[in-house]
């Protein structure tokens, strides 16, 4: 697509083919900042590219910001959790706003983030940092003591999460002190949280000029397994409260622009509890799901709200109307093999014949023995569904957990 030099010049931090494709089809100039393994591919396909190793941190780290500034880049958009603080650092140089770096660190550390939310008057569960196994056992006991549990009552579980990992990576549920032994020492320090009973959901909010430009609610059917957008009418009923929560969050974190992806619990009495927030595209291909139902490209949306040269009118015309403009519900299911030994991929016939089934991105198994899942592991691929009825879609996604895709 023809690039408009009047509009912003955007750097994409991290390698995502879908993001590159979106940028290619957008009217803004862009450059991909990615590790050197992407170089050949970018040269071959004529993709503007700057090589950068995000894992290396040293005195020369400022170089990338200067390089981009020299090129005339206006803003950097993070595509992955690991590039969020890079984007903060680079943008503080490009936009001459040092506060952006501090903000990005806040959004990278789950313990800091919770504290900041708490300071902003947002409800969170009980949380603490743990540096060793002893901390975990103590926290588990204290939490259950607080809940007035007697000896012999089943414990309320606690959740352990890595400080700075995306989504479910490193997320464990601990119920008894024995389970603590299964945590490898190298995972510490971790964040511990009390368990919140309730309905968990995520939000993708595009923010421009400190205001919400578009707010999507993603409904989790089972955490780590399945999600669909837009949320069912039952959850959408909470939209006004959710919007109020996001506005609180924007204020608490002083967010002026960008895409935020927070997670909340709503308890049965309608109370919202803040889980965490990320300053990057969500996992589980929610961007793709949004495009399926709304037709707008969520990567382009992010580039737009990050772009300091974007006008409010342009932002307003880019986004569709929430809920009303969705032409159905799209969801996906992350497949984990259920058996210990698998030999081939076989999409269950009932799935393949289901009118909601769209496509899958599963590949045949590379090895026969399935490694045991610790924590909420990484799924083997996603299966996509789309249909007109949110309840049917939810039941369908739930049902997938009982099916064998790998036999």
């Amino acid at each position: 697509m023809d690039k408009d030099p009047q509009k912003g010049y955007i750097a994409l931090l991290g390698w995502s083919l879908n993001a590159v494709e979106a940028a290619e089809n957008f009217d803004r100039r862009y450059v991909v900042v990615a590790p050197d393994w992407a170089e050949d591919y970018c040269q071959k396909h004529d993709i503007p590219y700057v090589s950068w190793n995000f894992e290396r941190l040293n005195d020369r780290s400022l170089e990338i910001a200067e390089t981009l500034k020299k090129m005339g880049v206006n803003v950097a958009v993070p595509l992955y959790e690991e590039t969020v603080e890079w984007a903060g650092a680079i943008n503080s140089v490009l936009l001459d706003n040092p506060r952006l770096y501090g903000q990005s660190l806040l959004l990278r550390d789950k313990a800091l983030m919770k504290r900041r939310a708490q300071l902003g008057g947002i409800r969170v569960g009980i949380f603490e940092e743990a540096h060793d196994k002893g901390d975990v056992i103590r926290f588990l006991k204290r939490v259950n003591q607080t809940l007035l549990k007697l000896d012999g009552d089943p414990n309320d579980p606690i959740h352990l999460k890595a400080f700075d990992k995306a989504g479910c990576l490193g997320h464990r549920v601990i119920r008894t002190p024995d389970e603590v032994d299964s945590i490898p020492d190298e995972e510490f320090p971790v964040l511990m949280e009390s368990h919140l009973d309730g309905w968990e959901f995520a939000v993708e909010a595009w923010i421009h000029d400190g205001k919400i430009a578009f707010l999507n609610i993603s409904e989790y059917v089972t955490l780590g397994y399945s999600v669909f957008v837009p949320a069912s009418p039952d959850l959408e009923a909470y939209r006004p409260q959710i919007t109020a929560q996001i506005e609180k969050l924007i204020k608490a974190f002083d967010i002026d622009f960008g895409l935020i992806h927070p997670e909340y619990f709503v308890t049965s009495d309608g109370e919202m509890y803040f889980g965490e927030v990320a300053y990057r595209p969500p996992g589980f291909k929610v961007f793709e799901l949004l495009e399926r139902v709304y037709g707008f490209n969520a990567y382009q949306a992010s580039m737009l709200v990050f772009d300091p040269k974007a006008t409010p009118e342009e932002v307003a015309t880019f986004f569709p109307r929430e809920i009303e403009d969705a032409d159905g519900y799209a969801g996906c299911f992350g497949v984990y093999p259920r058996r210990r030994v698998v030999s081939k991929l076989e999409i269950p016939e009932e799935v393949e014949d289901h009118p909601y089934f769209e496509s899958h991105e599963l590949t045949p198994p590379l090895e026969e023995t399935v490694t045991k899942r610790t924590a909420f592991g990484t799924h083997w691929g996603l299966v996509y569904f789309k249909g007109p009825d949110s309840h049917q879609l939810r039941d369908l996604l739930k049902h997938q957990e009982d099916l064998d895709y790998y036999v």
Binding site: E21, Y41, K44
Partner: protein
Amino acid sequence: MTADDDKLNGLLEKLDEATALLAKARDFAKPGKLPRVLDTARRVMLHPHGCAAMAPRARAIEEAGVFAGSDWASPQILVPALTPHSLGSADANTVVIEALSELRLLAVAHGEYRHPLISAEQAHHYLTQVIAINLTLLFGPATEAERETQGRLAQLPRNLFQYLTERIGYEHVIDQLIEEIWRILEQRPIQVDALKSMITQIATCQADPNIDLGASGQGANRLVSALFSPTRGCQEDPGIAAYRERLGSMDPSALQSEATGFARAMHDTGLVSPYHPVLLRFLLDHRPPADRGPGPVRYRARLPALLPRSGARPDPRLRASTHGAGHLRPGAAAGARHPLSALGGAGAAAPAWPAVVRLVPGATDTGLRRCRLAPGKTAGRRALHAGAAAGRGPGQQPHLPVGPGPVDVGLQRPGLPAADGGLGGAG
């Protein structure tokens, strides 16, 4: 509109969407969009009418870039001999790409799509070769080996070739087809439905004035006549009702010659004409009074199968299921009116599995029924051979029922293959 059509339309909608996405994608992003197109195409083509719906889209699918970067992108270098391997592959994508390539060439061959790299004549020639090489795909269900490697996917190439052959025309592969039919019939198969439908196709071709078979099609006459006009009495395929009427006006020697004609056709080909049971019934119902002794009674007791009205009653559901005369003549529907049209009636009027109903009352699966019957049939055939040999006179053909008129035919009944299908199963 049926649920089945709904499903197909839903799939087609998804396919069009996926194709459009692929077409729109930049070259570097195409590989990411391709799996969805191939997977949806596979599901479309597994549908019985899927290939027909796919054909008009073949061009859009090629232009979207499905073949880009593969050998299929240059159709002029494709080798027909390689198609059985790609179509028999366990990898669904290989099968689907090959199938899509064939459908696109079909559009080229019919002049609906002017391809920059291959002419209509070349495409046509290529497709006839491909059909000839893959003829086995036109015959019956998947083999054990195919089911093991391909599973459900094995149906896809079958749907494809059914459609391709219909569109390209049987006349181009008729010689190979006839040869293949004879080769299979030599083995006296139990399941002959696919063979019969092929023969019906050949007969349609022969009768169609628009098709010039030239010198090809030799050897088909015996096959066609074995099914539709095995004897003088049904030479012009008059239909079951007319034939029954005709039998009434025949004298014993004419009936004898009818019986001989049927037997000969059956032994030559392994196929049984739908007229054959009509004769048998007629003979049983019109036995000369002298024969109504203990013999026939014994015979009746042994073979209630032949006598649905007095013996075991056929299951009405089964009868209904065989009424679908369509399975006898798929593909003939599109043609003009033709003597064969009587066949539909013939098929429907034939006895509906009476023997089977008695033997395996609960079974509804055709395969099972036939399996259960097979041993008895083998034994029966041996009995027939023995009986024929014993009664054979000098100069008579081997394996022909001989003796005084109709009763003997009846006595040989255990060996007659009509017990199998009623609609002309092989012996």
